[in-house]
């Protein structure tokens, strides 16, 4: 379901100033549009013209509230479903232009880890078969070779193959299932791993184990990560670059240290202020956003955050802000950025 060109051109993104095309990024996404049909007449643009790039070895975090389109964006990179507009270039290959067997050949390079680990594993399969499945589909070696590979994978994610091989997913806790998902995702030696809220269903103590494991895997296998999360504290711990999304658009792009120390977008500032700090001596920050995000079916004109923003002016309603550089590698799409 492709929209006519004139409709896509209406969805001007927030600019491309933040792209680093001369540094040979692993992934370049330009003007990505994902739309779902709501009824016969209306569409919702879950991702409304987003451009970004990911350098090799980087961990790009995508943060935002539920419904801002961050999961849709992650899936659109994998062409699940195919985006309505824009291009995704992986390792120099425009995968939005591929189909059939050509697209299938690219798929092992990008793997995904899902939020709900238990339901993303087939409950009827034994762990060894779950991890063997991608290897079998791609005919990676004989049955005996694959069996050794499965054991190695299980070892590398910190599970004892002898104990877990023959069990099924329901016999494991959430954290262990997430380890199995990670083993399955890295089985085909991907270059890019898309992690969609990998730890939000886990306890804090288990969360730290999985985050450290992902970090280890990244270093050992030279992976590039896209880390989708709503938890800003988790994002700060793992990412090297953060992209803040609101209602299908980019608000701000920065390194985590810059973003948390000097947020330039009013939305980022409010998001950070809302995170509870585990220290009773730290006073509660009173920068609050009121209400909830408006419906993406009928987004506000101009800046999409203006309906909840204290600093909004007439210009915000009339003109969509474009990304501008406010510091080295720090970009914000706002007419009236926060000054520190």
């Amino acid at each position: 379901m492709l929209l006519p060109d004139w409709r896509i051109s209406l969805m001007a993104g927030s600019g491309k100033l933040h792209l680093r095309l001369d540094s040979d990024p692993l992934l370049i996404v330009q003007d990505l549009v994902v739309q779902y049909k709501v009824n016969r007449k209306s569409f919702v643009s879950a991702v409304a013209g987003i451009s970004f790039d990911v350098l090799r070895g980087e961990t790009l975090a995508i943060v935002g509230e539920s419904g801002c389109g961050k999961s849709t964006l992650g899936k659109a990179i994998m062409q699940l479903p195919r985006p309505q507009g824009g291009t995704v270039v992986l390792d120099g290959v425009n995968i939005t232009a591929l189909d059939g067997n050509d697209l299938r050949d690219v798929r092992p390079k990008v793997q995904m880890i899902f939020q709900d680990a238990i339901s993303s594993l087939d409950p009827r399969l034994q762990v060894k078969n779950i991890i063997d499945e991608p290897l079998k589909v791609w005919k990676k070696g004989t049955s005996a070779e694959r069996s050794i590979k499965v054991d190695n994978l299980l070892n590398s994610v910190g599970l004892d193959p002898v104990v877990v091989r023959d069990r099924r997913p329901y016999e494991f806790s959430g954290g262990q299932c997430q380890r199995i998902s990670i083993a399955r995702a890295i089985a085909l030696d991907p270059v890019l791993l898309v992690c969609d809220e990998p730890v939000s269903a886990l306890d804090v103590s288990i969360q730290a184990q999985i985050l450290n494991l992902l970090q280890d895997m990244k270093e050992k296998l030279g992976l590039t990560l896209i880390f989708i999360s709503h938890d800003l504290a988790v994002v700060k711990a793992v990412s090297t670059r953060v992209l803040v999304m609101y209602l299908g658009k980019i608000c701000e792009v920065a390194t985590p240290d810059d973003l948390y120390a000097h947020p330039a977008h009013h939305y980022s500032r409010a998001l950070i202020a809302a995170v509870p700090i585990p220290d009773p001596e730290v006073g509660v920050d009173k920068i609050r956003v009121t209400g909830e995000p408006p419906s993406p079916v009928n987004p506000p004109s101009g800046c999409r955050f203006r309906t909840r923003c204290e600093s909004a002016t007439e210009r915000c309603a009339a003109e969509e802000p474009q990304l501008q550089e406010v510091g080295l590698g720090h970009f914000v799409a706002c007419h009236h950025p926060v000054t520190n």
């Binding site: 509230e65 539920s66 806790s173 954290g175 306890d203 804090v204 103590s205 969360q207 730290a208 184990q209 985050l211 450290n212 970090q215 709503h230 938890d231 800003l232 504290a233 988790v234 700060k236 711990a237 793992v238 990412s239 090297t240 390194t255 985590p256 240290d257 948390y260 409010a270 998001l271 950070i272 202020a273 809302a274 995170v275 509870p276 700090i277 585990p278 220290d279 009773p280 001596e281 730290v282 509660v284 609050r288 956003v289 009121t290 209400g291 909830e292």
Partner: protein, 324 residues
């Protein structure tokens, strides 16, 4: 100090095919009027079972022993029907999942009015007027329209506000909030927590906040109780707890949280292993298998709950910073 709730040697166990599962083991807890208490622990630590059992919301497979005293009345001696009289006006609860705790096929208005009519004996018109006031109070835009809606038509944040409105409808003395913000976005979480704090002051409510998030507890409570494997392992005034943790478990829990005020790219500290199997209790300290300071004594002998002079309690032979 005016005592509202007192639990003495309170235990809850469930009969399962694998044997008795001890979810809560020998909890002593007293809550003063107007206090705000946080109960913290990992999933499976027994914090939800403790709060539900206190209210008498347990299935028939559960066995509760020990005593629950509410306002001087021993609830544990009353029948189910008699305990019921305390619901709504005496104790109320905000549940974790705002979608499943509302009836999907009844309008918001009728769910809100039910308690007012049954508990406070209001007429339908009185109840309707009061419900609109309550919805306004929890900042639902256009309360008249909201009364006619079904839960499915509202967002998660709105639904949680409705659940809060229902819980405070009969101005309970004691409000349990079981993970009230876990299912919500961080901006909406901040709004809901602020609302709860306001309501608590306005109605002079005592609150027991059950959560796994030490960050939420830090800003909202006067006292914190840390639970592990069904037992209280540490309890102290909130400021005291965060400043002088005694129990290695609390410290480990604290250190495993990623924090905004830490530099990025640092490795997180982990607690290895998992909670012990609740059907087979450990002979010694229940945290010993995961504790980095554990000795043979910890594994063999159960540490008692020690109370310090300032009321700080901990269950450890080798508390951090030495004993007393």
């Amino acid at each position: 100090m005016n005592q509202l709730l007192k639990l003495s040697d309170f235990s809850v166990s469930f009969t399962t095919p694998r044997g008795d599962l001890h979810a809560v083991r020998g909890v002593d807890l007293s809550v003063a009027k107007g206090e705000s208490i946080g109960i913290v622990g990992e999933s499976g630590s027994g914090k939800t079972v403790l709060s539900r059992a206190t209210m008498g919301l347990m299935p028939s497979t559960a066995t509760c022993t020990g005593s629950v005293e509410f306002n001087g009345v021993a609830l544990s001696d009353l029948s189910r029907a008699e305990v019921r009289n305390y619901w709504g006006t005496g104790m109320a609860m905000i549940f974790q999942d705002p979608l499943t705790s509302l009836n999907p096929v009844r309008r918001i208005g009728s769910q809100l009015m039910e308690g007012l009519i049954v508990r406070l004996g209001m007429s339908k018109d009185q109840a309707r007027a009061r419900s609109v006031e309550l919805l306004e109070r929890v900042r639902i835009p256009d309360p008249y329209a909201a009364m006619k809606k079904y839960p499915g038509e509202l967002s998660g944040g709105m639904r949680q506000r409705i659940v809060i409105a229902i819980a405070i409808a009969c101005t309970p003395e004691l409000l349990f909030a079981d993970e009230p913000t876990t299912a919500l976005d961080v901006t909406v979480q901040a709004q809901v927590l602020e609302l709860l704090a306001e309501l608590r002051q306005e109605f002079n409510m005592t609150m027991i906040l059950v959560t796994h998030d030490l960050g939420v507890v830090a800003g909202q409570t006067d006292r914190v109780v840390v639970m592990y494997a069904g037992e209280i392992v540490e309890a102290a005034a909130t400021k005291d707890l965060f400043a002088n943790m005694k129990m290695p478990y609390t410290e480990a829990l604290m250190k495993s949280i990623p924090r905004l005020d830490q530099a990025s790219g640092q490795r997180l500290r982990v607690i290895t292993g998992r909670l012990p199997d609740p059907t087979t209790p450990e002979p010694g300290c229940s945290f010993a298998p995961r504790c980095e300071y554990a000795t043979d004594k910890c594994r063999a002998e159960k540490p008692p709950l020690v109370t310090m002079q300032n009321g700080h309690q901990y269950r450890c032979f080798f508390p951090i910073g030495g004993s007393l």
